[in-house]
């Protein structure tokens, strides 16, 4: 057994795992996940708008509905609230009036 055989075998093993990960991810992405379906049901029923990832403050609990002048969130680049504040930026529609949206273009696949 040559060293290169061993190494290539190891590499092939890793590559196999890697490909398995790709294939599994694609298959998982294709079907409807039961968790996703359950979440969608509640979103539709309760008219929810946001994920419940960060619950420590209202502008992180409902980032899409955040105020323009929420305490601490006074500047888009401020690291106002360390752990999740680094992840949550003000939603894009705060910086421009959404009423001037152009008509959407034709959809395509």
């Amino acid at each position: 057994m040559r060293r290169s055989d061993l190494f290539l075998g190891l590499l092939a093993l890793q590559l196999g795992l890697f490909l398995a990960m790709l294939v599994y991810a694609r298959r998982a992405g294709r079907g409807v996940d039961p968790g996703v379906a359950e979440c969608r049901r509640w979103v539709a029923e309760l008219r929810l708008t946001d994920l419940c990832l960060f619950t420590e403050a209202r502008y992180t609990r409902n980032p899409a509905l955040a105020d323009l002048h929420t305490p601490f969130q006074d500047h888009p680049t401020a690291l106002e609230h360390f752990p999740s504040g680094t992840l949550v930026a003000p939603p894009p529609h705060l910086t421009s009036p959404h009423a001037w949206h152009p008509a959407p273009n034709p959809k395509h696949p």
């Binding site: 008509a103 273009n105 034709p106 959809k107 395509h108 696949p109």
Partner: protein, 155 residues
Amino acid sequence: MGRRGRWHGGLAAAILALPLAAGQAPSAREKCPVCGMFVAKYPDWMAVLRFKDGSALAFDGPKDLFTAYLDLKRYAPGRSPADVAAIEVKDYYSLRVVDGFRAVFVIGSDVAGPMGRELVPFAEAGDAAAFLKDHRGRRSLRFGEVTAAVLRSLP
């Protein structure tokens, strides 16, 4: 859908007229006989031409339906306008299936369909007038006013 659908696409297209129950969504593989696009991808624009024998053709927009209706010889050989039992289009605001013969169509608006400029269908003339104003439409037409010349003016 996507790729898998395409392999069988040829088969589905070969069977031109499929029976469709009223309001029933076309199968994922059904294609518009005029342009060949998958009809199911654009449910909001779907238009259906029903014949008296129960068969039907589904289109991905009223424009293609009119193209076929005004030239049935080419798109449905052996049939004439007299064989048409019903025309179904979808009202823009409600997305409900409405009677195409009685619908009002707005052209020249800033709303584009899957095939570009469209004849946007409405069940009510009032809706059509409001839409014409909101979306800078050119004019609204009754079913009978849609001619080949009108279609040519829509790129």
